[in-house]
């Protein structure tokens, strides 16, 4: 059948009829010799190759070019980040197939790779035939996703491509495809058929994840299983597979948090972000808020006067409340950080940033932290673990501090991980919707700081990132689903001191986190702290543009589905605590 994608829907792509040629591969290897060789080999397979020598650079690229890659191949031994960690990040955030490479074929290492989600593990020296076959992983993944019923973000291009590929390989007809593309209306669930190869992904929104966690806690973490969770969650369109894969990631995430927990260097105080960059540092711990954005000017924030951005002061109690594992609540103040009366709250509360999802309650100190964002709203308590006691108390709306919307480019020190903060909701918005129905807001900015979020009623939960479908973080007003990807981040630290202090107004919280950026989910608040935030330039409080262009790659704290552009400040308030692992 010579039907060509071009005729199908008037859509044409150079790749569609030549799959697997044109496969977009990202190769990550610190060895320049290997990088060159692999690049050449992949080009010989007619793949589109992008190379990079650092894990962080890879993450940056992946985030910058959403859906710009089909598969990632990475060496296990990278200087700036453990290959397995990178693997995890990619799997969680971008949900791309990842192939690991190593000179060392020791079974335990290979097993570790597989456990972390690698879809293959290649031993160096690598042969052409091994690379020629990697498209199978891409195909397989697409098929799995197609089976996931859920939000269908159909990517026309991909669908065409994959469908084409599938068709070529399996002889499936295009009629399904055609039907679906009638109006180029791709976003629907017509293609539940796995052969449609739709790139349908379940977006683990805050809300969804919360339900998931609730179900997990109800069942009992030890006895949990996908079927039970699915039953409890009661989401009709969710499949057992969706839950199973999410559960797997969640477990992995928790395990890692626990491990990292062991490693803490002092994470309090303002430390140089570099310190917190260590992989070993726990991610959510508020660490080194230090270098967070420097010059974030408070002026930008037009918040209620008196509300102070809270910058996570390194010395704040947040650190103390750093919890191992899941701990959400700040030691002192059980109130949600974000909540009414942010100031007082902030002052009193600590952010319990923990490596796991934590509520971040930051002590508010005057800070010049650019607040990446604020989210407010009720934050339902995510229950991540049995011992987790979320103390979010929804603010009873006394003073809804507007969530600072921060979106800007935070120039970040290249050496630091940066987080993307995209920020959002506007105060009015929040005020209007003090309770529920808050849309998640998240912001994306690159900074190593985590913003603190608006005091409004939300609490910030810092979570370890990622939901599988991390996408661009957009501030959406009515975005019902947001995916978070919080990674360790350095929480914003003390004001003035270092570049990159974030000043959050009204209850922004800054959490500095160690290596991982934490995504805080406060209703409508997000923040990310990424270790090494520096020089956050300015958060334009009311400027909703997405942040882009941060040189170092960081994590997006929140990601929204790609197709929702950020139009306004109204952010999405996160309804519930997040976390996504």
């Amino acid at each position: 059948m010579m039907e060509n994608s071009k005729t199908i829907a008037g859509f044409s792509s150079p790749r569609t009829d030549i799959f697997p040629a044109g496969l977009r591969v990202l190769v990550v290897d610190d060895d320049p010799t290997w990088l060159k060789i692999l690049e050449k080999m992949l080009k010989k397979c007619s793949y589109e190759v992008t190379t990079c020598g650092l894990a962080r650079e890879a993450l940056y690229l992946l985030r910058e070019r959403k859906d710009g890659f089909d598969i990632v191949i990475s060496d296990v031994n990278m200087p700036d980040m453990d290959g397995f960690k990178l693997l995890e990040h990619v799997g969680l955030e971008m949900d791309l197939p990842v192939i690991m490479m190593s000179v060392d074929g020791e079974t335990s290492r290979v097993m570790k790779g597989v456990q972390h989600g690698a879809c293959d593990y290649l031993l160096k020296p690598i042969r052409m035939k091994e690379l020629r076959n990697i498209w199978q992983h891409v195909l397989r993944k697409k098929m799995q996703e197609a089976r996931d019923v859920g939000n269908h973000e159909l990517d026309q291009y991909d669908e065409m491509w994959m469908l084409n590929g599938v068709e070529r390989l399996s002889g499936k007809k295009r009629k399904d495809f055609e039907n679906k593309h009638d109006e180029k209306e791709m976003s629907d669930s017509r293609c539940v058929d796995s052969s449609s190869m739709k790139k349908a992904r379940v977006v683990w929104t805050v809300d969804l994840h919360q339900k998931f966690v609730k179900a997990v806690n109800q069942i009992g973490f030890d006895k949990v299983g996908p079927k039970k969770i699915l039953d409890l969650m009661g989401i009709p369109w969710l499949t057992r597979e969706n839950v199973a894969s999410h559960l797997q990631k969640y477990r992995l995430y928790l395990t890692r948090l626990q491990k990292e927990d062991e490693v803490k260097a002092s994470f309090c105080g303002m430390k140089h972000p570099d310190v917190s960059c260590k992989e070993t540092s726990s991610s959510l711990s508020l660490q080194n808020p230090v270098d967070v954005c420097t010059d974030v000017t408070k002026d930008k924030y037009s918040g209620d006067s008196g509300d102070k951005a809270i910058v996570q002061n390194g010395k704040s109690n947040i650190y103390e409340s750093k919890v191992k594992g899941v701990v959400l609540m700040p030691v002192t103040e059980p109130r949600s950080v974000v909540g009414d009366n942010f100031d007082s709250q902030v002052a009193g509360s600590k952010i319990g940033l923990t490596e796991s999802f934590g509520l971040v309650n930051t002590d508010v100190e005057s800070a010049n932290l650019p607040i990446p964002y604020c989210s407010t709203g009720e934050a339902p308590q995510p229950q991540y673990k049995q011992d987790f006691k979320p103390h979010f108390q929804s603010a009873n709306g006394s003073s809804h501090q507007p969530l600072p919307v921060v979106s800007h480019q935070i120039p970040v020190d290249r050496t630091q991980a940066t987080c993307f903060l995209n920020h959002i909701p506007s105060r009015e918005e929040r005020n209007r919707h003090p309770d529920a129905e808050n849309k998640p807001s998240f912001f994306k900015s690159k900074c190593g700081v985590v913003g603190n979020f608006s005091p409004i009623e939300s609490t910030v939960n810092l979570f370890q990132p990622v939901s599988q479908q991390q996408r661009n973080v957009h501030i959406l007003e009515q975005m019902p689903s947001t995916t978070w990807s919080a990674r360790s981040c350095n929480v914003v630290n003390g004001p003035q001191s270092s570049p990159g202090n974030l000043s959050l107004r009204s209850g922004s919280m800054v959490a500095s986190v160690g290596e991982d950026v934490c995504g805080a989910s406060i209703q409508g608040e997000c923040f990310l702290a990424n270790n090494g935030l520096r020089n956050i330039e300015q958060f334009d409080y009311n400027d909703p543009q997405p942040i882009s262009g941060v040189p170092t790659c960081l994590y997006d704290t929140l990601r929204f589905d790609y197709e929702y552009p950020i139009d306004s400040l109204e952010g999405i308030v996160m309804d519930q605590g997040l976390f996504i692992v």
């Binding site: 610190d30 060895d31 320049p32 010799t33 060159k36 060789i37 031994n77 000179v103 020296p125």
Partner: protein
């Protein structure tokens, strides 16, 4: 003349392979070479030299440290070995493996000795390859 050079080059390559200086990886690299990258192999080898120089230097420094950081040494050698595998430098790789064994045994003297062997193999390979490329061009 041309043919003779070619024959010489082929002979040299054969000998490098037979003596274990190089392995099939090198052949694979040559297969990758094409009109788009006519000097691909040589370029790769040059990259290898640059990287290797750095590794050798770092290992040397690390060996001079007291007390010796075996983990770091092992890590450096692991990387050097990986790099050597990229061009098929078989003998060098073997020396690297031996070095790693001494590292694991925390035998500093053993490490130092083997390291001499590593450097020697590397230097020999480099010389032979340079001669080969001369002929090949």
């Amino acid at each position: 003349m041309e043919n003779q050079k070619k024959r010489q080059a082929a002979y040299m390559k054969r000998s490098l392979l037979d003596q274990g200086y190089l392995d099939e990886q090198f052949i694979h690299l040559e297969e990758l070479q094409d009109d788009a990258n006519p000097n691909f192999v040589e370029e790769v080898v040059k990259l290898y030299y640059t990287d290797s120089a750095r590794f050798i230097r770092n290992i040397e420094l690390a060996l001079e440290n007291a007390p010796c950081d075996f983990t770091r040494l092992d890590n450096l050698m692991y990387q050097f070995k990986g790099s050597s595998s990229s061009i098929g430098a078989r003998r060098v790789q073997r020396q690297c493996s031996q070095f790693q064994e001494y590292c694991n045994a925390k035998n500093i003297e053993g490490c130092k000795n083997i390291f001499q062997g590593v450097k020697h193999e590397y230097a020999t390979l480099k010389t032979k390859l340079e001669a080969y490329f001369q002929m090949e061009r």
